[in-house]
């Protein structure tokens, strides 16, 4: 009866208890029903039942969501609000496709070289005003990890991770643990340091780390309803990583590992890639979990600093890793770890959200940074390039005297 048939059962599962209000970062700012899962799902239900047209008018209902998954985690009725929004975006994208978006997803995102080129061009033309053109055309909204960098592209980036790869510590000779490191677009193009720290630290702990050239994990595409593109990217990545035949697949980017962990959702059960996707997903491990395994109870020595931790949404709710990064930090001798209030609340980066909804993103960031300030921490640690850049921007913007670092950098700097 409706384009939303496939998710209708999921939609009616919402019994409107409203618990999503207590965790939704957007609702916290707007205090309006339309910006929380209950409201979004209610409108989708109207659309599914034909009392409201399912068209462009609902775009903000779908894209105003951070996809942080917090409501889904908190839902007593087990409503899959994250999946519902993604699916609805997919349905909407099929019919209402802005040309620019289609161009980017079809002709840039799937080609690593072009992606790299885009990034370089972006920087090159930064001073010449292309930035504002990109912004105005909405192109920024679909650039995914690259777009995240709009207005926060670190000034000192001259080379990508791939450019720097040869400077990495080599694998030790007699290693038994084989690990595939997934270096995503954000790490490669914007914050190569954290990827390097991840690779080096794992090698020092005795892993044989392979770093195959992978494609975009597909998250930006699936977030924008381009499931087909995401599926195509997933197939390529599955082929690459399965061939590595490692024991673990790890990434310094929680969004990328979360995305790979959810690859099976992209495939029909009869698709030959479904089984492969499951096999791969089972190997995905969070960086912090892997390090804890490798340390096996040994303690690290770190600097005497007050440290706190921001939990990326994809880490807490796609990988379902909550305690490990904090335990890892707290166990480092010298470091005094302080729990960040609302640590697992989204920082407002949320993929391209910070570019498409700059005002809301900033409000969410402000609350995050005020929480950071309250901890009095000198170092704010996280596990995702997008979060890292957003938090760096926040520290500057709201004048919070804190240095933002990736967990791998802390581990890499610590001594055994």
């Amino acid at each position: 009866m409706s384009k939303l048939d496939k998710i209708y059962e999921d939609i009616v599962a919402c019994n409107k208890c409203g618990f999503c209000q207590s965790v939704c970062p957007v609702f916290r700012e707007t205090r309006m029903e339309g910006s929380v899962a209950r409201g979004r799902i209610a409108l989708l239900r109207e659309a599914a039942e034909g009392t409201l047209p399912f068209d462009e008018d609902l775009k903000e209902t779908l894209y105003g969501c951070l996809l942080c998954k917090h409501c889904q985690e908190n839902c007593p009725a087990g409503v899959k609000s994250y999946d519902i929004i993604l699916k609805a975006r997919e349905v909407l994208a099929k019919e209402h496709v802005p040309l620019v978006q289609r161009f980017i997803f079809n002709h840039i995102l799937q080609f690593p070289k072009r992606l790299t080129l885009t990034n370089r061009l972006l920087k090159l033309y930064e001073k010449s005003g292309i930035r504002s053109i990109i912004n105005k055309t909405g192109m920024i909204g679909v650039l995914g990890p690259v777009a995240k960098a709009e207005d926060i592209i670190p000034g000192n980036i001259s080379r990508t991770f791939r450019d720097l790869e040869k400077t990495l510590t080599p694998n030790l000779s007699n290693t038994v643990i084989r690990v595939t490191l997934f270096v995503g677009c954000g790490t490669n193009l914007l914050v190569p340091d954290q990827g390097i720290a991840a690779a080096n630290s794992l090698r020092e702990f005795g892993c044989a780390v392979s770093i195959p050239e992978v494609f975009c994990c597909g998250l930006p595409a699936s977030s924008y309803g381009y499931t087909k593109v995401a599926r195509a990217l997933a197939r390529k990545n599955i082929d690459i990583m399965v061939a590595e035949n490692s024991g673990y697949v790890v990434s310094d980017c929680a969004s990328c590992s979360g995305s790979v962990r959810e690859y099976p959702k992209l495939f029909d059960k009869r698709d030959p890639y479904y089984v492969k996707a499951i096999e791969l997903a089972d190997k995905v491990i969070d960086y912090s979990q892997l390090v804890l395994k490798l340390l096996a109870g040994r303690a690290l020595q770190g600097e005497r600093r007050v440290v706190t931790y921001h939990q990326p949404c994809h880490q807490s709710r796609c990988l379902e890793v909550k305690e490990e990064p904090k335990r890892l930090l707290a166990d480092i001798e010298g470091i005094s770890f302080i729990e960040l209030p609302e640590a697992d609340t989204c920082c407002g980066a949320a993929g391209s959200y910070m570019a498409t909804h700059p005002e809301m993103s900033e409000k969410i960031l402000e609350r995050k940074m005020e929480n950071v300030r309250r901890t009095g921490a000198a170092i704010l640690v996280t596990s995702c390039p997008a979060c890292l850049l957003q938090l760096q921007r926040g520290a500057k913007k709201f004048n919070v005297p804190v240095k933002v670092m990736h967990l791998a950098q802390i581990i890499n700097n610590a001594k055994p």
């Binding site: 599962a13 209000q21 207590s22 309006m32």
Partner: protein, 915 residues
Amino acid sequence: MSRKEAPRWASKLDKMLEKIIAIVGNTNVITDKKDLLTYKYAATASGMPPAAVILPESTEDISRILQLLYRYEVPVIARGAGTNLNGGTILAGDNGETVVLELAKLNKILEIDPDNRYMLVEPGVTNLEVQLAAKPYGFYYAPDPASQQVSTIGGNIAENAGGPRCVKYGVTANHVQGLELVLSDGRVIVSNGPLEGLPGYDLTGIMHATEGTFAVITKAWLKLMKLPEATKTLMVIFDSLDDAANSVSQIIAQGIIPTTLELIDKPVLQAVEETVKIGYPLDAEAVLLIEVDGFSVALDSQAQQIISICQKNNVRETRVAKNEKERDIMWEGRRGAVGSIARLKPSYAEEDITIPRTKLPEMLRTIARLAKEYSLIIGNVFHAGDGNFHPVVLYDERNAEETQRVTDVNYEIMKEAAKLGGTITGEHGIGIEKLKGMPLTFTEDTMVFMRKLKLAFDEKDILNPGKVIPANICDLVSRSNQCQISAERKPKIKDFMEAIEHVGIIIGEAFLDKYACHGQKPCCAVKANSTEDVINIVQLANKHQASLIPWGQGSKSDVGCRTVPAETVLDLSNLNRIIDIDFGNLTATVEAGVKLKDLQRLLLEKNLFLPVDPIQKAEPTIGGLTAANSTGSLRLQYKTIKDMLLGVEVVTPEGKQIKYGGKNIKNVAGYDLCKLFVGSWGTLGIITKITLKLFPLPQQAIYKTFSMEDRGLFQSFLNEIYTGLETSSLDFVISDRIYYVNIGLSGPAEAVDMQAKILNGLFKPGIKQTAHVEDRALQYGKSFIIDKLPTGYFQHSGLILKSSLLYTDITRWIDTILKAAGDTKVIIYGHAANGIVISYFPEVIDNSTIRKAVSKFEQETSWGVHIIEICSNQFESGHTDARKQMEFNSSHLKAALDPSNILNPGRSVGGRYYE
């Protein structure tokens, strides 16, 4: 919607919205049609979308918005998080011009005062945010509805929310000290603030469970309590529902009041076991989750008592949580219960009824029978300790026939609850979903009276119209002439006296002295022998325009003032039957004329008591105590009659009999008339029958009295006790420059011993212990004070000044009074932790002295209300907020409910404001 189709009100609304936008700004008004669709539902029900949603950010915004809505007569629904389970915040009918006043942006915690144990919050703060804010200070806020992570304080008050902890600590109404309110015309009123024991009608109490139909709540002063030192959690498994249910009532009847006492039945525990592995045996019939809290030394013995009761009832298995983790697992089962069972079907309805605890097995059997009859799955997971059931009915809302069966079975459940002396809603409220159940518990006259009460607050009926009271009742009450006391009564006393001769017993002229107030005899007095007599007499008084003064023992007749001379006294002392003492349910129902001491004597025999102890020598009646909401030293632990009153029967000023409540601890059906009549001093109705909550005597109770001469020592000693101990009473008397402090400790023996030890450690040079009394009946708190007061106090000579203060201002006030008194004799006593101080001047002191003292004190402090209870002189000056509350009281409530001014005309409610 195009202009052509626009309804008639649209242009009026547009005009008004323009003005509202000027107040709150564009971004705070929602008019987009799609966005408005998200305001057409609440947690369970759904209706038409509103015409607009307005998000104010301050009390001032709200006041200005309401002025506009009032002027344009636009209906408005105040809303918090929209989590209500009765449709309370959705449009009741098809009046599409209704707007929603969304209070979510008023979400600031304004003040946390750990010294005076309150928190001031805006209405949009969630219950959980309050808990989290209180915790670092070692405090908590007792009400804990299951929705606490989202439901707001404003909503909790509007629904009088409960939660698992209610068994021991009571509902929201018992924990809200004061409110700031905006009336429908935009006037802002402060009721009580952080103070206790104020005169006037109890607006704060009345406002609970009114579902936003009386006023908009804009601030709330919440009472904070010390976090218990320890908690013990037990999980008890039964093979029979009856055994489980019997254990529940026996535990409480034995005098153990657990913090929570929850029951989970078979269908639910099976569903829970499927989602979370708690380790429930799948063939068990019921699981009880029981928690006791308090001092750790006392918990083991309490847990043991509970276990042995369960063993007598054939318990299958008992588990005691050994650590926090085990406790969490036990609670996880309870918390996930509704969610788990709800997953079995696409939709569920959660009913909400309360029945007297002793009727638990009967109700459970009834629900099982109904489930079978209507072929529905019904699970029970509920607050068994207070008899509050939440049958969860599973269905598929897309199946119309099944949905109808659910509606029908819910009505049947309400009917059965009403039949068992229960109520149709314990904590969810009426809203629109339970309107049809209202006639099951209330007579037409009662509902008409409630409607009048609503219109007294909101005469244009713009606040959340269509809720609580069924439409056919609303049609019976006209909206006009609500706020005027009819100009002149022309009493025909002689005709009246002749008429009542056939009804009650006329008191002979010679005995009228007994009924004198302020030394003035009434024209006549009549004794009623029954409620019917009272009804007839009031009706005749209406006919002859005579006024009546309800009278118990006359023990408080001189308190406050009376601006109209007394005409007829209606003596109720013959209404003296004790109707029912329910030892299993811990309630007593008595007629108004029953003397406190007579009831108390019966209760003590059974190890129970009614914890009220007014500081007087006369023998007050229960009716009188209720009308005056009078108590004494025990108010610290047990609060006042307001918090114990479960049901009343009242004869209205028009001579109609109305009835509210019953034996249920949780009850949010209709407006809470208990809160209206308690402390109303016979000005709004004549209370004829009263049902009160009873309490078990403590296992042990001791009092220790200390005396000291040094003021500094007194202050520090008092502070140490106030902060370091959990006393059941904390009183002081200052007489002849000697400071006496009396401390009551009661509870489980181990806890009393432990606290007594701590108390001994606070002993200092300069402090003398003057008494040590063991008194399980808890009467020494009162006699300590009475013994130190001169006889004049009890004969009502001199000046009695009652002050409600913050705890932290008490010593400063004492200094002020002592200084003002100079060489004049003054005795000061008070209930320190409640901030109540009474200054007694045996000889009337010069006006200006007191006035100066009060006004100096008011300049230095933000809160304080002073009233004259007894005095022949006239005084002036007063407190602004208090006066505002008074103005509203007299002009609105009295006028609306007693327009002919029949009952106790000109009577001050509780005392004369210091003005």
